[in-house]
């Protein structure tokens, strides 16, 4: 049965036709009748489609789940990747040419909640956690336009290869400002200064190969003594630092000035660029090259000389961001090979991640060990998308922000804000283990659930309150639940309906038991209270935080 359903999802041959209107009384039944599938099979189909939607969008909702069932998974992924990329800049600048960070967040939420190219938006968010800058940096805090432009650059980078994106990131003024390669001058023997090593170090450690050598399967390589192998040494860092010298802003005739063009790629100030030859990872970059020729050569050396580390490192990271926190090494390997063999094509990587059997079925060796915790922003977005349709359905294509950020206070409420991590290391350490599961793992590799790093009691309460105040308590947003409840269904039937629409069956049976008991405490016509109780429980329960394979292998 599972195989049959998987084939259905994979090959897109589910001849389910257009999804029928769900009967409010018996959710799903009319749908099942058109498909000829038994009820249990249909529920399994919806569970799977919702899990996949949670990988590839900002949260499964009825429309996307039906679309996935309708077209099949592979076709859905390809259709998503073929959509035009929805940038943030146009909606952030609808009412101003000098957007603030609030307009950035407004545009970000608009795209997260309502952009049709959900997969681009999810991948873009993942990339923004790899190529980290912070809107709080002194150079960037008053210049949100460059931060938004940087985010759009990442989104557009999905339609290209990793090496080009790495190059564009390295020459983006926001990145150069953030990691101080902007106005980094070559060594001055008279003053005794040397080139700033900040970007040089991070471009290797965080944006490409990582400090320690990896296999393509993401595992760390070791030498004969079982010790980690360094991908570069301090001399490499010093040489790399000489590459990133002589970087200045366009439209700015004076070296060192902050005013200038923060939207165009940086330019070279030749008198400050170190054009001597450079020895990097055992290779030589010849003397006399321009800044941009030097950057091309240096990044090329990383990719050529440390290709397996780049492939294993980045593939593992993207798998963790999109699908599973603890991928089996074979999953990482399969993705890394596809990625590297496609000349580092990002769409090929994304496809390989989403269409892998381990993503669809869970880890082949132990399904109970797969899954992922949602980040705070994804938790809110997922619940919001499942409960309420975008407020303004007329926005297609999007012409402006749906949110001005005052209702969400993104910078404060979530303990996570787009392009606003506390440090260049991102929102959380990738290998963070929550206390309750330390020491558990498969073989010698212990489980990590890095997203748990972002949760504390204050922001869980705050985000839950946002769902309560901004969504669940808004009667217009929950009208379809009210319609079902007032049509005369039992508390049990209503619980089935809510759990199907919010979690698509991805939950433990206990949740339904608790929900029915909760609704039974209310008088039979306390409709508003019942709707709110049910939605609150469905969005603030253990199941609402996670992507899990509930069925055992």
């Amino acid at each position: 049965m599972v195989d049959q359903l998987r084939r259905t999802l994979l090959k897109g041959i589910a001849s389910l036709g257009t999804v029928a209107v769900i009967s409010p009384l018996m959710p799903g039944i009319s749908f099942a009748a058109t498909s000829g599938l038994a009820d249990a099979e249909l529920m399994e189909l919806r569970r799977r489609a919702a899990r996949l939607a949670n990988y590839a969008t900002f949260g499964a909702n009825e429309d996307e789940v039906n679309r996935i069932i309708d077209t099949g998974w592979e076709t859905w992924v390809d259709q998503q990747l073929a959509l035009p990329i929805t940038p943030l800049y146009p909606s952030a600048t609808l009412n101003t040419d000098k957007p603030t960070v609030n307009q950035f967040y407004g545009a970000w939420w608009t795209n997260a909640l309502a952009a049709p190219d959900q997969l681009h938006q999810r991948v873009g968010f993942a990339l923004s956690q790899w190529f980290v800058i912070s809107s709080d940096h002194p150079f960037l805090s008053g210049r949100s336009w460059t931060v938004i432009n940087f985010y759009d650059r990442l989104l557009q980078g999905i339609d290209g290869n990793f090496t080009d994106l790495l190059n564009q990131v390295s020459t983006h003024p926001a990145m150069c400002g953030y990691l101080s390669s902007l106005y980094n001058a070559k060594a001055d023997p008279v003053k005794g200064t040397v080139a700033d090593e900040n970007y040089a170090r991070e471009v290797m450690q965080l944006f490409s190969c990582g400090a320690e050598k990896r296999h393509r399967n993401g595992n760390f390589a070791v030498d004969e003594q079982g010790q980690a192998i360094a991908n570069y040494d301090e001399q490499d860092v010093r040489e790399m630092a000489r590459v990133f010298t002589g970087i200045g802003l366009k439209d700015q005739a004076t070296w060192g000035k902050e005013r200038g063009d923060w939207l165009s790629p940086v330019i070279e100030y030749p008198e400050y660029h170190d054009s001597g030859n450079k020895q990097l990872m055992g290779q030589t970059i010849p003397a006399g090259l321009s800044l941009f020729e030097d950057i091309d050569a240096a990044l090329g050396i990383i990719i050529e000389q440390r290709g397996n580390s780049v492939a294993g490192n980045f593939s593992r990271f993207m798998i963790q961001r999109l699908t599973l926190s603890n991928p089996k090494y074979t999953y990482v390997r399969d993705v890394a090979i596809a990625f590297k063999d496609s000349n580092w094509d990002i769409k090929t990587l994304v496809r390989a991640i989403l269409l892998h059997p381990d993503a669809i079925d869970g880890r082949s060796d132990n399904r109970s060990e797969t899954g992922r915790l949602k980040e705070p922003l994804l938790w809110y977005a997922g619940a919001r998308r499942a409960i309420a349709p975008p407020r303004d359905q007329a926005l297609a294509p999007l012409t402006g922000p749906l949110f001005d950020n005052t209702e969400l206070r993104t910078g404060e409420a979530f303990n996570q804000k787009p392009l606003g991590a506390f440090s260049v290391f991102g929102f959380f350490p990738w290998d963070y283990q929550p206390e309750s599961i330390r020491g558990e793992g498969t073989g010698y590799i212990e489980y990590v659930y890095p997203e748990s790093y972002l949760y504390n009691w204050n922001n869980i309460t705050t985000v839950s309150n946002k769902l309560w105040g901004n969504v669940i308590k808004r009667d217009n947003d929950v009208v379809r639940f009210m319609e079902v409840l007032t049509s005369g269904v039992s508390n049990e039937e209503f619980s089935d309906f809510v759990l199907d629409k919010i979690l698509f069956g991805n939950h433990r049976p206990t949740l339904k038991v608790e929900m029915v008991a909760l609704l039974d405490q209310r008088g039979s016509v306390e409709y508003k209270g019942k709707v709110r109780d049910a939605l609150m429980l469905a969005t603030t329960c253990p199941d609402s935080f996670i992507i899990n394979h509930y069925q055992e292998a």
Partner: protein, 395 residues
């Protein structure tokens, strides 16, 4: 020994301390430079302290009383400095200066002690105090009641970010909370990721309940705003939290970045603030915990003396306030810099500070009981200045 608490009222955006304090003996020069945004002489409240016959803005009547009663003091001519600086040294660039003077983000970061560090001075003070201790309180003593964590960010300690939204779980009351608690305890959630989710949610339910119970013991007057209400209850609960030192960052309601409409907007802000500052102490007294609390104002920078059209632009040196029961008030700390002093005004009429803000902060750190060597680590440039203690907390 009872708990000591420092409360920092941060005025984000750069408060114009020259709008707050005026030496009446120089009123003509003040009126000359300030023009349309000058306050009338009769509207100012004389304090009878400091050289030049210092007066405070008319909307600070309760603060004026507190100063006169010895419970508060102005700190004059203070700001971000790396080493003592005069106009000629500034012009010749012969001394080290805080980078990017007049930039909000740079100066705020510098002022919070976060310049070139991923922690603030308050966080480092608490790190030093709690070093080696076994504090297991669920709430860290490094507290912010708003979104801004920089000042209290520490190397070792966590930051407690506490807002009213986090204390009150609006939607999760009664039966819903019981249902969630039942799920957290339900072992059918057995997969690894399910157990992690139960832990995460369980921490929230417990933590929220803990604070709700803690705060529920204290009956607020209702006069305070969100930040000061939370601060007052945390101070009252310090013993239960196991905290003998706390630092609390408060976002001070402004607005302070008064490029425009300064006269009206600061008048309104001060009227609100005068009550907030003094009501806060009254609230602590009602809980019986005011004796070891010191409050200070802090800001990015002061503002230029000369107005632009209807406001003022970013400046440098500033005037601040310190108040609370332990304060040796009724005196001016530092000198009000003469409006025409050629050594301490830049060409654009921005004050060059005579005191470094870190001298104020180091005075507080010493009051906390930190060693001189700890203080030197926390404030690496303090040794550039002759006075390590400004005396407002006793000798």
């Amino acid at each position: 020994m009872s708990a000591k608490t420092i409360v920092v009222f941060y005025m984000h955006g750069g408060h114009d301390g020259y709008n707050m304090l005026v030496p009446l003996d120089q009123y003509d020069r003040y009126a000359h430079y300030r023009g349309d945004i000058a306050h009338t002489e009769s509207s100012l409240i004389p304090l009878g302290i400091g050289q030049g016959n210092l007066a405070i803005h008319g909307n600070f009547s309760r603060m004026a009383e507190l100063i006169q009663a010895g419970g508060a003091a102005p700190i004059l001519g203070t700001g971000n400095l790396i080493e003592p600086t005069t106009r000629s040294q500034f012009d010749a660039k012969s001394v080290a200066l805080p980078p990017f003077l007049y930039s909000h983000s740079h100066q705020q970061s510098f002022n919070k002690g976060a310049y070139q560090q991923y922690s603030g001075w308050a966080g480092r003070v608490l790190d030093a105090w709690y070093a080696g201790s076994n504090n297991v309180s669920p709430i860290s003593p490094a507290i912010t009641t708003g979104s801004d964590r920089d000042l209290v960010s520490a190397e070792t300690l966590d930051v407690s970010q506490i807002t009213d939204e986090g204390v009150t779980w609006q939607g999760l009351t009664g039966g819903k909370q019981q249902a969630v608690t039942a799920l957290i305890d339900d072992d059918s959630y057995q997969h690894v990721v399910e157990r992690v989710a139960r832990q995460v949610l369980g921490t929230a339910v417990d933590g929220q309940q803990y604070l709700a119970d803690l705060f529920g013991q204290f009956s607020a007057s209702g006069k305070l705003n969100m930040g000061t209400t939370i601060a007052s209850k945390l101070i009252a609960a310090a013993d239960q939290l196991g905290h003998d030192r706390q630092i609390i960052h408060i976002v001070t309601p402004g607005p302070w970045d008064s490029h425009n409409n300064q006269f009206e907007s600061l008048n309104a802000a001060y009227a609100n603030l005068d009550n907030l500052f003094v009501d806060f102490i009254d609230e602590l007294e009602s809980y019986g915990v005011a004796d070891n609390v010191v409050c200070i104002t802090a800001s990015d920078f002061g503002r230029g003396l000369r107005p632009n059209n209807r406001g003022t632009d970013h400046g440098w040196g500033n005037n601040h306030l310190v108040w609370g029961k332990p304060v040796f008030g009724g005196q001016a700390i530092g000198d009000f810099v003469d409006y025409d002093d050629p050594d301490y005004w830049t060409g654009a009429k921005r004050l060059i500070p005579k005191l470094a803000d870190i001298q104020t902060y180091a005075t507080l750190a010493r009051w906390f009981g930190l060693s001189e060597s700890d203080i030197d680590v926390i404030f690496p440039t303090l040794q550039n200045f002759s006075r390590r203690d400004l005396g407002f907390l006793g000798a």
